[in-house]
Amino acid sequence: MIEEGLKNELAKQGVVLTTLQELYNWGRGNSVWPLSFGLACCAIEMMAASMAKWDIARFGSEVFRPSPRQADLMIVAGTVTKKMAPQVVRLYNQMPEPKYVIAMGACAISGGPFKQGYNVLKGIDRLLPVDIHIPGCPPRPEALLHALITLQKKIEIEALTGPNRPRHLDADAPSEFPVPQFGEHDIVPAMNPLLWKPTQVVR
């Protein structure tokens, strides 16, 4: 690895040194295209973040794609109901790797205010691997921008090789997750045991 100070000194002289990993992650991190997919109230704040006042375009994510095939990031903005959960998982499965998930708002994290509802999924992390959680009901647009920056930092340090390499570079890691079916009283399965373990209450 090249020394940081030397690199900066060279950059001042107009010589840019980089590694393949840095270049690759720099490119990916600054053009994260979200899926335009709003579920509930939080989606309005997501829209507000993409409008003039907050301008998500400063972070390279203004390109909201209506098709999952062109998106890198799924912002689960709002309450995931049990009727909607299969579609959310299906959309995720249709996205190409590398893909990331931001759970925006209390509802997407845990069911939020509606957690006692019979038709509400208690957190999207029961069915999908979530990278960033944003608490709030609704989180302010600044919070979404912060989550995006956090995600960019996470992408920046992803190694291309080695045991800690991300999922999309690991042929054995799953990139699709089982889609729940509609049952007579609930969706089956109600959660993915590989992804989610019930919290143990300790008193």
């Binding site: 579920l39 309005i44 509606f114 006692q116 019979y118 038709n119 609704p138």
Partner: protein, 392 residues
């Protein structure tokens, strides 16, 4: 007005493809499309099952429930006051009018009086809500027609100004949770009214430029005039309310009919349409903004002092007497009502929201049949739905 002998029936039917006598091979093919729940033009997680003959819609069945969050069931297990924050999340564009409708129903149930100052604050916040709702709806409608960006960006720029007002008053941009039974939660912060005056004073200028940009735009006229026409008898029978109804020429505004709050003190007119098409709905919304500005200007002149909540109103251990009440207001989307049954316990026995967005969708199929699928999208956009309220 003639009395309809039978309400035009909803249909449950099989569609048979048309075949022409020449029998070209493309005849007789029907295409079934499930638009939604993830579709950029369905304003959230709404789904329409459309059957198309070429480009023409021959059958359209809306499918709901993708945002059914069990609001009513949760409210029946919560105290009366505990449901107030949930009403914010019904129609998440207009939390303050939702608060008002719920507070009004409970005030009827418990017989509470609202002090004058609180009534003024309620009118001001409700009309500001109507401003921001109608501007954003017009932006979304234009977006459905393909004007990506500009109109919606303008609308949201103005909306943000109003949301800033809400934030300084209630502490939250969208989920205000501001009204209480018999009044409001907190008094106006210093200088708030002056800020409202400034924004209300500047709003007509924005509206003028918005209308100059759009109203005579050729594409807008071509895509909206004569599209999604709704006959007036059908609109009444189907319980359509709000700007949708008035676009058909029916003079029915609950602010004028019920005189709830202090609306009879203000002078304003009810804009009415003639054709009942998408263009009328769009124009009615813009005209209603102007009328709301008039109300705001009158209300801002003299906001009286005094208490902001009925001293009799109890926040804790609030138990209305056994009985029931239905309270309704003119929300930005239409008649928003709450129906409550009390059994004397701290929780309502039955809690029901009368959702204007859902009921305005009853006639979606009737409006879209025979039109092209692109027009169905525009028609849906002109209904102005918010899924949180459609599915609750």
């Amino acid at each position: 007005m003639s009395v309809a002998t039978e309400s035009p029936a909803p249909r449950n039917y099989e569609v048979v493809p048309k075949t022409s006598p020449e029998g070209s091979e493309l005849d007789g093919e029907l295409l079934e499309v499930a638009m939604g729940p993830q579709h950029p033009s369905t304003h959230g997680v709404f789904r329409m099952d459309v059957v198309l003959d070429g480009e023409t819609v021959v059958k359209l069945k809306p499918v709901f429930g993708y945002l059914h969050r069990n609001h009513e069931k949760i409210a029946e297990n919560t105290s009366y006051l505990g449901s107030m924050p949930y009403t914010d999340r019904l129609d998440y564009f207009c939390s303050l009018t939702n608060n008002w409708a719920y507070a009004l129903a409970v005030e009827k149930l418990a017989g509470l009086q609202v002090p004058e100052r609180a009534e003024f604050i309620r009118v001001i916040t409700a009309e500001l809500t109507r401003l921001q709702n109608h501007t954003s709806v017009c932006g979304f409608l234009l977006q459905d027609m393909g004007a990506l960006g500009t109109p919606l960006m303008y609308a949201f720029r103005e909306r943000e100004k109003i949301l800033d007002l809400f934030e300084s008053l209630t502490g939250a941009r969208m989920m205000c949770n501001y009204m209480r039974f018999g009044g409001c939660r907190c008094d106006l912060p210093p200088g708030w009214l002056d800020r409202v005056r400034k924004i209300v004073g500047d709003f007509p200028q924005f509206l003028d430029s918005y209308e100059a940009l759009l109203n005579t735009n050729e594409i807008l006229l071509a895509r909206t005039q004569g599209v999604g026409r709704l006959p007036r008898e059908l609109a009444i029978s189907a319980g359509v309310t709000g700007p949708m109804l008035r676009a058909c020429g029916v003079d029915y505004d609950i602010r004028k009919v019920d005189h709830y709050g202090i609306y009879d003190r203000f002078e304003f007119r009810i804009p009415l349409g003639e054709q009942g098409d998408v263009y009328d709905r769009y124009m009615i919304r813009l005209l209603e903004i102007r009328e709301s500005l008039k109300i705001l200007q009158q209300a801002l002149k003299e906001v009286p002092g005094g208490p902001i909540i009925d001293p009799k109103a109890k926040l804790r251990s609030f138990r209305p007497k056994v009985g029931e009440a239905y309270g309704r207001i003119e929300g930005p989307k239409g008649e928003l009502g709450f129906y409550l049954i009390s059994d004397g316990s701290p929780n309502p026995y039955r809690y029901r929201v009368r959702p204007p967005s859902l009921i305005n969708l009853t006639i979606l199929e009737d409006m879209c049949l025979g039109q092209s699928v692109a027009d169905a999208v525009v028609t849906l956009g002109s209904v102005d739905i918010v899924l949180g309220e459609v599915d609750r």
